[in-house]
Symmetry: C2
DNA sequence: AGCCCAGCCGAAAACGCTTTCGGGCGGAAG
DNA sequence: CTTCCGCCCGAAAGCGTTTTCGGCTGGGCT
């Protein structure tokens, strides 16, 4: 049972009572002064604050949270950390909360409902002030329930319960945005290769794209080609399209991965991108877009914004202004070299 | 100032005193019973535990932490969340800690030293029991200092201070592992294209590769080609290599991105992979390895293991068994189709 | 029968902070 | 010179748990 050897036992952290003594006031006054309560003379407050700084005082959040019943803590429950989508949302949320004011507990349920339950209990046990639930796809997911003791915001994947608040990217608008860009580039024979039709993202992007086309009085070239979210599918689908519809001048792809496959096949077939065929992806996954030949234009889902909005909504709920329903965040086009006006 | 409308005000969470009353014992006894203290009769303990379950009692961690001085909380300070490397480490750490026992505060300093300081202070203010610092590259980074009040473990990027404990992947061993695999496949004319030589990972992988080659009595084909971590560089370097050394039968690539570029160029030049040339990457980034033609053999850095080990080391430090120095975690080969024995 | 000791249990203090509430003090009004 | 009123400040009561320490009970020993 040896003690850890030579860690020089530093002076224990300063407490409020130390500050009060140094400033020559009582605990109560010191507390009020530091928390901006109004019942303190300006001069006294100054003295207390100065004392606190001299001692590098940091209030113990446990002691502080005990009377208040708040912890200054929120739980971030994510479906798949590995995945591409949780991370930017998480970062957006983190910086909306701001360092020092609120800290984020991270939990990954790895897509397992049981583990999710477990995490929720653990988080509530820690008395988090609120919860953000991040899905791994945009399909609606089951609600955590209405009777949780803290507010909950769903991000990316909406809750099936309309009484919950969900913040999601505007997939339909994303499809529309993509087509409008292609139209603005003078393209009129546009095809669409997408991923797994079991994903709402695939269906909704297609829906937006088709709507924008028909508003422009144009048909889609062929049907929407649903398949899988892979480069291989992109290659295969592009081959088929170029065979059947040699005249097409743009291929809208359901994801950057698919787009990479499409780019490759177009290149092998001797079609110049963007001169002959424009190619456009979704997700703006830098690792894929930047390495393409040419670099890939893509629709960014603004996930950081989704995260920030979710965090703000949680704040609003703390203040007693809960919202509900599904709020969508507009997407954003990032133009690189794979799309350009027809010359 | 309206109250939030119809959230049915649920009964407030059960406290220890409720449990005690229901079990017909005092607070002290209830506490001891639930915490496994020995001074309670088995029968009494049973009654208390049953009462606790009936009430779904969960101790308030703030109240619990106050006397104990521990919070059951650690801080995870990462350099770049976007990056590929923090995430698996984070997941490894998360599951080593186990749900419910320890919760992880996540902070991202985005590579900014000032913001890092800020986060460290915020975390210490929250009285975390320990810190894990995750870097975004394997190059040594400055220490947080020796006089922090809690144990610190550095993961992925080692600390420059040998008194700190760092857990890093074995980059030299990774280079060695890669070459040994190629040798086992009967390859003998091996070239190496790597990334930015400013990265220790690039230099150390090359070092291990060259060492393994020279132990086998073989030279490297050409020099190590350092460049950047991009597909474009992979394509360019591969073109150069195939021109100058037409006889080579394997190209070891410093990252999966580079490898993707190399694959592409080899294919365009009509070299069959793996029949004519084997190609091998590092990092095992699934999104890149699986989409290649053919799918890419790669060296996995075992980052989850790095995270788990870091978490365990932190536990050890809590128990008064701190370690120091740099500990390396061996890497692991993931064989796909881009390497195969010469037939 | 008297004593001692082990085994259990409960009263109370402590942890560090916030907040309520009462009281002192000074100045203005009467 | 009183009286009253506002403004500041401090004493003290919590917040929910752990832990210490003293007391009670009952059994075994003398």
């Amino acid at each position: 049972m040896t003690q850890p050897p030579d860690r020089p036992s530093r002076p224990p952290a300063a407490k409020l009572s130390d500050v009060a003594r140094l400033a020559g006031v009582s605990l109560a006054t010191a507390s009020k002064a530091l928390n901006g309560r109004s019942q303190v003379r300006a001069e006294t407050r100054r003295r207390v604050i100065e004392a606190a700084e001299r001692l590098a005082f940091q209030p113990n959040p446990m002691a502080r949270g005990l009377p208040a019943g708040r912890t200054g803590t929120v739980g971030l429950l994510t479906g798949d950390l590995e995945g591409r989508f949780s991370i930017p949302i998480l970062m957006g949320a983190e910086d909306a909360f701001g360092v020092g004011r609120v800290a984020v507990f991270l939990c990954d349920a790895r897509g397992d409902a049981l583990r999710e339950q477990h995490h929720v209990r653990a988080l509530l046990g820690r008395r988090v002030d609120g919860l953000i639930v991040v899905g791994s796809r945009t399909d609606p997911r089951s609600s955590l329930g209405r009777d949780l003791p803290v507010p909950v915001v769903y991000a990316y994947a909406p809750s099936t319960d309309p009484a919950d608040l969900s913040i999601v990217p505007d997939s339909v608008g994303a499809g529309r945005l993509a087509v409008e860009h292609l139209l603005a580039c003078g393209r009129s024979r546009i095809a669409h290769v997408s991923g797994d039709p079991g994903y709402a993202a695939a269906r909704e992007r297609a829906e937006g794209a088709v709507a924008a086309l028909s508003e422009a009085g144009l048909p889609l070239v062929g049907e929407v080609l649903f398949g899988s979210w892979s480069e291989g599918w992109g290659r295969a689908a592009a081959g088929m399209l170029l065979d059947r519809h040699p005249a097409l001048d743009a291929i809208l792809c359901g994801s950057d991965q698919i787009a990479r496959g499409v780019l490759e096949t177009a290149r092998e077939r001797g079609r110049r991108v963007p001169e002959d065929v424009a190619v456009l992806g979704f997700d703006n996954w830098e690792i894929l877009t930047s390495g393409g030949r040419p670099p890939l234009t893509s629709v960014d889902l603004n996930l950081e914004q989704v995260g920030r909005t979710a965090a703000q909504a949680l704040f609003a709920a703390f203040e007693g202004q809960p919202r509900s329903g599904v709020e969508t965040i507009p997407c954003r086009l990032v133009i690189r070299e794979s799309t350009a006006p027809l010359s």
